[in-house]
Amino acid sequence: MTSSQRIASAPPDAEPPLISLAGLTRRFGDRLAVDDVSFSVGRGEVVGLVGPNGAGKTTAMRMVAGFLPPSAGRAAIAGIDVVERPVAAQARLGYLPEGAPAWGEMTPEGLLRFVAAAHGLTGAARRRRLDGAVALTGLDAVRRQRIDTLSKGYRRRVALAAALVHDPPALILDEPTDGLDPAQRQLVRRTIRGLADDKAVIVSTHALDEVTAVCDRVVVLAAGRLVADDRPEVLAARVGGGSLEAAFLALTGAGGPAPGRRHRSGA
């Protein structure tokens, strides 16, 4: 399946975007961590968020998840403003924070039960969703083991399962494949791709091959600013001479021209 087919199957005008950022800005003292970033993600779309370390990826995602208040601009989940109605917005979002934090003394089962309960799920519905999330992320073998005894790969999948357990329409995953071995990476990518049919997904990553593998669109941040928002192959062709890596380096100023060059596709 090619990216253009995926986009064709999900017309952007069918409904308001499930995730939207408009002029989103965050200041830490004098430093602008995120500077006037705007883009949106519709149902059926996977958007890869890339950029060098410190480009503002995590800060931007934290604002959309309602963890960090923006200095300016707005973020919305399914049209619900994250600052004005945080609980309603968060109910529709699955969020994997950076580093996949989890309570080490709990079991994956216990953690997922808590997250599901926090989302208002009880009884048989909770059981069903929990089993579904465990199966989807391949946690069956360890579901009753303490999380602090699990390998890094399993821990990341626990946090991923926690983001999925309430079957949210919008997903924000901060480096879901970081620290995984190639086989686990493959599994998580396939999981994300499978979810994308009826969800809007933002995935941040350092692995550009991942962008090509799972993302319909790529948003490039450099020094807090959005410098590109396009389909990966288009971006590679226009800026990188066919290579996404070359495009990335050129756009983010890492060994290429200075940042600030804005590239957007007409579509």
Partner: protein, 279 residues
Amino acid sequence: MSAPARRKTRYSRRPVAAAGPGARIGRAAVALRAWARPIGAVVGRELASYLATPLAAVFIVVFLLASAVATFELGRFFERGRADLEPFFRFHPWLYLWLAPAFAMRLWAEDRRVGTIELLLTLPIGPARAVIGKFLAAWLMAAVALALTVPLWLTVAWLGDPDHGVIAAGYLASLLLAGAYLAIGTAASAATRSQVIAFIAAFAVALALTAPGSTPVVGLIAPWVPDRLVTLLGWFSLEARFAAMVRGVVDPRDGLFLISVIVYFLSLAGLLVARTAHR
């Protein structure tokens, strides 16, 4: 004929169901339950953590040992030959003063350090309910510790003829007192990622709200300071308020003081979590 009749019943039924104080209370109860449900989830998670680690068990054992030493050694429980629990309760402020900050110090600081605070606060709960849930779980542990001292009550009842009303009031007062110190500890823990700083800050605040107006300190300073100052210090001392309640002096203001300390420090904790969680 049947159609107007049906309409009539519909009209007559609707106002009864929609208005009236009973319906309003019913709706409020439903809304309150929906609001409180996530708190239950947070309490459950905290309790699961307490069961998975020896933390709570250690604190309960330390509390039981320390209160036993205080009651029998310092309080001369048997020697005084009176059937009451005054020597047991008398030391509770001085136990909670350091045990509660130690127990509460991890509540938020640990989540900040590990990063689970980001997981917790991006669930559709909001900081207020997260603070309340964590606090209630800790308070429940204090209730368990207190409940384990009930054999002492039974002993007194077997040895003599105590005033059970006063003892029951003493237990209630002690539970409120534990809540007040835990609320102080919660606020301190919400302010930092360092458990050591959380402990020291909570201990300092707890000491300031305990010692100045407390019975032993007042006994020491009373000859040298004006009476009005002693009264003033007593108002703001958890120990002085608690001592009055344990003696069986029923003054709702003492209970209200403890409750307002809980509400004040939990509000502060909520504010700290909401404003500074991401730092």
